[in-house]
Every structure is written in C-alpha cells, then in structure tokens.
Symmetry: C2
C-alpha cells in the first residue's frame, strides 16, 4: 500500500474513520486501549496526514509566510536575513509548520502576495520585516484578517503583534562608548529614512549629543547600499572639520566606508574610528576587524515564530515581545581620537 489513509487504518483496526481521527489527534472519544492500538497500527503503516486534506477539513494549513521586499542584489550579502530565517524555522519546526518564502521588488507586490495567500488559504499567518513609519502593510493585513507579527517594529495602539529590540539603547551604547574614548565629532551613516528603526536610531543620536558634549553629530540617510555608504563617507572625510568616528547602520556600509578611508589615506583606527550597527563574518574578515553591535538575530527569528503561532492560536491579546539587548563587540576599528 503506497500511502495509507485513515480509512486504511480504520479497516485494519476494525474501527471507524472517526475513531482513528480522534486517536491520532489526541482528543477524547476513544478508550486508552483503542487509542494505543490505533497509534501502533498508524506507526506500522507509517501513516502521515495528507496536508491538503487536513487543511480542507480543519481550515488551517500549518504553514506561514514571509515576504522580503528588497532587491536580490543587496539581499545576499546581509547575513541578517539568513540568520533570521533559520531562527524563524527553528521556532516553527517544533510544531512542524512550514515556511513559504518570497522575495519581491517592492511593498505593492508584497501586499499583493498577502492578498493572494489569504484568498487561496496558503498560509495561516505572516511575518513582517523592514517596518516603515506609516506602513501600508499593517492596514492591508488587518483588512485581510491575516494573523501577522512585525519584526523590529514596535507596536503602538491598534498595531499588530511584534517582536523588537531596543534600537535606542543600542545606539546610545555605541555613542556613549565613542564619547568615552574621547570622540566629539561623530557622524552617523543611517539607513533608509522611512524605516522605523532608522528613525529610532537617528533620534537616539540626536538626543544623546548635548548630554555627551558632542560638537557635531549629523545623521545622514542612505538606501543601505554599499555605494551610498561609500559616497557619504567620501563626503564626510573631505570636510575640513571631518568626524573622528563614524557609526554605520549596517555592516555592508561599514565595510564600504572602511574601503573609502583606506583609499583616502585616512588610517583606521588612528585617524578615524568605525562602528557597524550589525555584526557578521564580514566585519571580522576586514583589516582592521570592525567594532560592531552584535544582535542575536537567530533568537529574534525564533521568537517571532513563537509569537506568530500564539497569535494564530488566539488572536487576542496582542503580544509585544522585547528581545535580548544587543551588545557592542569591540574590535580593532575603534580607538581614542588622535
């Protein structure tokens, strides 16, 4: 027998289909003895539920979705997503829920995917990344009544469930570290301005500046690409009163910045200190190795998966979970100013 069905098991056990279903799902309705017998037979026949049949009857598909709206070109280098992904999967695998992954060009396409997934019942819920300030996806998902979790977007009133890290505290720890080394001219090469975490980081720098006696602490936004990271760095280092330290919002931009400094003959960390707001092999491959803020991205993903599963099980209350605080890993790219 190729693929046994519960009907086959029922026949073999001499009971009805219903009894088998009860037994296999651990719900009352059969005696312990019968349950035992059915389970053993199912095991012997190596039965597995037909996912589509179960989805049809129970109206849940045991599958969640994740859409990433970024050009593929920049995606690969960011270890962030690979770690996040494995984390999400480890959180899902416990319940043997599968993950649908999709990479699209923009947010409009992303919303379209959610719409399709909802109407075709392909997923039980979705995980959102790269939250923007007035994110249109939030309303779209509410309308679709598709359970969702936001990663990195701290939920206000009427928001979706979320999992977030304290970007503000993290940025403060970097700036305070640099200030303690003696830096007074610190520049911040930020990411896309409409991302929520970008905003939070910029605010953190601005708020801390007076307290730490910083002369100048500009935040300059980019599109997160190595090209813009390099361009901004070139501009910063060409100024007469150039910064003695630069904080980059991603490891890729920090690496690009380091390249520009070397090219311009600015020694790191002698003339310039560099800090990356995200850690990976990349930062360690460099010479000098970059001081970076390490986050437990894997755990981030795992928690997001957990929160999503809880939300699917019972939509209320809305869960907002804060993850472990990032820590600053000091390497060779930072030192007191000349």
């Amino acid at each position: 027998m190729a693929r046994p069905t519960i009907a086959d098991i029922a026949t073999r056990a001499g009971v009805s289909k219903g009894a088998v279903s009860f037994a296999l799902n651990g719900r009352p309705g059969v005696s312990d003895a019968t349950r035992e017998r059915i389970l053993k037979i199912a095991e012997q026949m190596s039965w597995r539920p037909h996912s589509a049949a179960r989805a049809l009857g129970a109206s849940r598909v045991d599958s969640v979705g994740m859409v990433i709206a970024r050009p593929a070109r920049t995606l690969g280098v960011e270890p962030f997503f690979a770690h996040l992904l494995s984390g999400v999967q480890s959180g899902l695998s416990a319940e043997s829920i599968s993950l649908q992954l999709l990479i699209v060009e923009d947010t409009a396409a992303e919303i379209e995917v959610y719409r399709r997934w909802a109407s075709e019942h392909r997923v039980d819920g979705v995980i959102l990344v790269d939250l923007t300030v007035k994110d249109p996806r939030v309303d779209a998902l509410k309308t679709l009544e598709l359970p969702a979790v936001m990663i990195g977007g701290r939920g206000g009133k009427g928001a979706l469930p979320s999992v977030w890290a304290d970007d503000r505290d993290a940025m403060l720890s970097i700036v305070e570290y640099l200030a303690a080394l003696g830096h007074r001219r610190i520049a911040h090469v930020a990411g896309t301005p409409n991302f929520q975490h970008t905003q939070r980081r910029i605010r953190a720098v601005r708020d801390a500046a007076p307290r730490l006696g910083l002369v100048d602490a500009p935040s300059l936004t980019t599109d997160f690409s190595d090209a813009e990271g390099a361009a901004i760095t070139r501009k910063l280092l060409s100024q007469s009163d150039r910064p003695t330290a630069i904080v980059y919002d991603s490891d890729v931009m920090a690496v690009a910045g380091l390249g520009v400094a070397m090219e311009m003959g600015v020694s790191v960390p002698g003339d310039l200190s560099i800090v990356a707001f995200d850690d990976s092999i990349l930062t360690q491959l460099m010479h000098p190795a970059l001081t970076a803020l390490s986050r437990d991205t894997f755990d981030f993903g795992r928690q997001a998966a957990e929160v999503l599963l809880e939300t699917i099980a019972s939509p209320i209350p809305v869960i907002n979970r804060r993850t472990a605080d990032p820590v600053l890993t000091v390497r060779e790219s930072t030192a007191p100013p000349a």
Copy 2:
C-alpha cells in the same frame, strides 16, 4: 460573503458546480457564452481557488521545495543563494507556484524533510543544490518518486534532471588567463572535496597544468569557510617557493585570503594575484577589488525552476540543461608576476 466558493458562483450564474469548474479551468464542456458569464461573475466576486481543496482533488499542490543543508552562519554572506532563490522564484511565479524553503544542518536531515514532504504531499517536486559525488539524496528521491532537479550536478546515466554550468571551462579560462600573464606557480584553494563541482575544478587545474607549463599547481581542499581559506593562504605564503597567484573557489575565501596577504605584507597584485571563483558585491568592496568569475546565478535558478516544472508535467525524458558560460571579470587583484 467572505470567501466565495465555486458553489456560490454556480448559484449566482444559475449553473452547476461542474460547469463553473470547467469554465474556470479553460476546459471544454461549456459554451463560450456561459464561460464568459461565469468568468465575469467569478471576477466580480473576486474568487480565488482554495489551494487545499484543489490539491486534494487534483493531487498537485502547486508548490515546490528547496532545502539547503549548510550552517546558517556561512549562508548569509554568500550572495549565491539569494540570487539563486530569486531566480527560482521568478521561474515559478509565472505559473504561480509557491516555494517552500528550509535550512537544515546536514544531508540526513535534508532527506528526512523530503520524506516528510512526500508523505504529506506538501510539494510537487524539489530543487537540489550542492551535489556531492555519490549523493545519497538522488537515490532517496527516486525511491520517494518525488520529481527533482539538480543544480550544478551534471547528470550521468540514471541521474535526475539537471541544470549545470561548465565548471571545467570556467576554471580553464581562469588558469589560462593567469598563465598568459606569466604566472607559473598557481595554487588553487578549493571547496569541500566531495562536492561534484569541486572535483571538476580540481581536475581542470590538474589537466591544464602541463599544457600551460605550470611548475606547480596544487589544489587544496577546505570546508568553504573563511577560517580555512585564511589558514591555507597563510601556509601557502609561508613556503619558500610560494605561488605568485591563488585561485579561490568562493568569494568569501578569496576575501579572507586577501586579508592574510595584507597582514603578511604580501602586496596584491604586486607579489600575488588573486582570483575568486564567484562574483558578488563582496569582491567589489575590497581594496584592491578582486578579479572574479561572474556567473548568472539568477538565470541559473530560473532555468532550474523551468526544468522542474517540465519534469513534474512529464517525468520523461530526463532534461539536462546547460546554462550560459561564466565570464571572467578582471579587476585590480591580478597582474603579471614580479
């Protein structure tokens, strides 16, 4: 009405469920007039097929799977997978087939996933990557009768359908380029020895050596990690008759190797030429930028998707498709030997 079913459409159109199914699937059995009317109503009610229901009836789930068995740590930095993935998706999206992605620790776990997918009918087929020499997955998939396509593994007799690039020619083009510059001592820092493409590249170097008059052309295998790449480089550069050029099997290892050279005071490309067998932003971020072999990974993935869909549609004949040849992009890390 929340989510309309074909029964709703049937009622509204005053026809039977069967007629609606025929009309929506573009098969004969209804007149053009009726078909038109049904399609219009379906459109108005914004009907979408329930994926589980369709899967149950038609015994196909419109979904394919891909499992990557590599530690997540090294995954993220390799732009290879991100590009491959988007390529696969672009090939699938044309038929609106969805992709299930899973990252696991080892091949045993990977095979277990295939087994589960097959028995639960979760996917119509799978895409294999990182083919090894006597790959156990091939037999497993044949036993499971799960349609599959191998990426990068050139199929012999009785093999699975495949999509491959000519590693041999590619490697030859690199070695010939270096020989033409005047290099006679060329080292090859290869990847995992049991990968098929590693074997092919090693053989290419070995075969070309006498013809090009190379004094020494050792291939040294690694686990593809930056750490081993760096270690081997250190060893090579410490030799009395050290190589004047090194070819690395991945961009990450090449970057690590460049770091070691700088650290040891070996100037690139003055004292040492470096070539990476894989291109990405990484190689361009470096100083000097690395000469690298560029492959159209996106197209690779797209073709794999196409071949898989064809294979699912009709298992025979077995398709083996060769993709566009890689080209060598010369940058700053290669020059004639001193």
